[in-house]
């Protein structure tokens, strides 16, 4: 399939509709200085509506956060205008400094320099290592 908008990079497809900008935020992609294309709230066979993110020159991108923020997404690798591979985001057991704990009673709210550490629990939910609070967007 011929790809539009980018030549070498990635397509993050099947992103929950309306959340593409949040996904960029968690991937530390700066939309003011990155060559990218956003398609938001388009029709999806699977989910009704979805967002699509296309990012040019994405080799340095750390996609770890996708497993948390968009686990249902598909990542397509694009080379010379063609999709060469597709994969689902990993769901890493540990997330370090990807998301922050929202619990005001959590030690991470006062401890300077503490890493924000989350782990995947048995029911597939990311929880703060310190206070067990559920991860929230």
């Amino acid at each position: 399939m011929k790809v539009t908008s980018i030549v070498d990079g990635i397509i993050i497809d099947h992103v929950q509709s309306g959340t593409a900008l949040k996904v960029l935020h968690y991937l530390h992609v700066d939309p003011t200085s990155t060559r990218l294309a956003l398609i938001m709230n388009t029709d999806s066979h699977k989910y009704g509506r979805k967002d699509i993110i296309k990012i040019e020159e994405s080799d340095d991108l750390d996609l770890t956060a996708l497993g948390f923020i968009a686990p249902q997404a598909t990542v397509d690798m694009v080379r010379q205008g063609h999709i060469v591979s597709k994969h689902k985001p990993d769901r890493p057991v540990h997330l370090v400094n990807v998301i922050s704990c929202v619990n005001p009673r959590c030690v991470t709210s006062v401890e300077r320099g503490a890493d924000q550490c989350f782990h995947l629990d048995d029911s597939g939910v990311y929880r703060c290592d310190y206070c067990d609070e559920k991860a929230e967007l």
């Binding site: 009673r105 959590c106 030690v107 709210s109 401890e111 503490a114 290592d129 310190y130 206070c131």
Partner: protein
């Protein structure tokens, strides 16, 4: 943590096949205790065995930790808990340093927990820490180079309280399973209750009777934990008098004033579940009454004389489990403890 456990598992003595519930304290040596979920059931049972052994061998164990120094770092005051940790180390022959409450500002000067623990690791062989923030003990254990015992982190975890409760149940009933255990009072915010239920669910074969007003019922995730145990059950009720005759253990809790928005709600709910001599008449003669203390008025003073009252015994058991824990984490063997195993066999 599992890494540490694996590292030591090769050292477990061969007698373990004879004593499947026994784990050498060497598997706890050098480790921290942040939550009871970090340690195995055999390790928990071993700590309770050690506490019982210490109780009957006070003189033999009095020099187990000679030359050791315990640091008690109490970022919020809890004099009872601190005294228990400190007395435990003194009775093992060790010494104590530390700070609490008011002294804190001058000691820490706004220093991070990590930096304080890295500093204190140079002075002390083991640390007991209490802190108002949830997860503070994990931060401390990751920064320290010596074992850290969580002495309470913001109502999040308080593993030595649960060990104390288990030791008291076992001392009174001779077992931790095949029991009907009533939990009474504030079951919404009572973290000691949640932690005790969770640990008993790991052991199995407990029927819980959850006695509380509708406003203070047990949270869903705790009920799910009981449901997930194939051998534990629960029922909920708001009437203590109706169920007291079924119970092997009655665990009373304090209803904390700060949980309520207005005084009237607090007074109404606080007075709902008061245990007095009249209610006790319907209870079994061998029921044991536990309470994490301090109490407000949920148990009348007249009950103290009843042989079923076990809450002051809990205080002694608290010191004993802390003695067991401190010596085990330090890797200091209790003189003669091995001999007792052979006696058991």
């Amino acid at each position: 943590m599992s890494e540490q456990f694996d590292r030591h598992s090769g050292e477990v003595p061969s007698t373990d096949s004879v004593f499947p519930n026994h784990v050498s304290s060497r598997s706890l040596q050098g480790r921290s205790l942040v939550t009871l979920d970090d340690i195995s059931l055999p390790q928990i049972k071993d700590l309770l065995d050690r506490a019982a052994y210490i109780d009957s061998h006070r003189r033999e164990v009095a020099h187990t930790c000679d030359g050791r120094v315990l640091a008690t770092l109490f970022y919020e005051p809890s004099t009872r808990t601190r005294l228990s940790f400190e007395t435990a180390m003194l009775r093992l022959g060790g010494q104590v340093i530390g700070f609490a409450g008011a002294q804190l500002a001058s000691v820490s000067k706004g220093e991070s927990i990590s930096d304080t623990l890295k500093t204190v690791s140079n002075y002390a062989d083991i640390v007991a820490m209490r802190h108002p923030k949830e997860g503070a003990a994990l931060v401390a254990s990751r920064a320290a180079s010596v074992p850290v015992i969580n002495a309470g982190d913001g109502g999040h975890m308080h593993p030595t309280q649960t060990l104390t409760d288990l030791a008291t149940i076992r001392a009174r009933k001779g077992r931790l399973t095949n029991l009907t255990i009533g939990m009474c009072g504030d079951l919404t915010f009572g973290r000691t209750v949640h932690s005790l239920i969770s640990t008993l669910c790991r052991l199995g074969q407990v029927d819980f009777v959850l006695i509380s007003p509708d406003e203070l019922k047990t949270p869903e995730y705790i009920l799910e934990r009981i449901d997930a145990s194939p051998t534990c059950t629960y029922r909920e009720t708001s009437d203590l008098g109706e169920v007291i005759g079924d119970l092997d253990i009655l665990y009373m809790t304090r209803v904390q004033k700060e949980r309520f928005f207005n005084e009237d709600d607090y007074l109404r709910l606080r007075d709902t579940y008061i245990l007095d001599e009249e209610k006790l008449k319907a209870a079994r003669p061998d029921m044991a009454i536990l309470h994490p203390l301090p109490r407000v008025n949920e148990i009348t003073a007249g009950v103290d004389q009843d042989p079923r009252a076990a809450y002051f015994e809990q205080v002694r058991n608290g010191m004993l489990v802390r003695m067991a824990l401190e010596s085990a984490l330090l890797g200091d063997e209790l003189p003669g403890y091995q001999v007792r195993k052979e006696v058991q066999a």
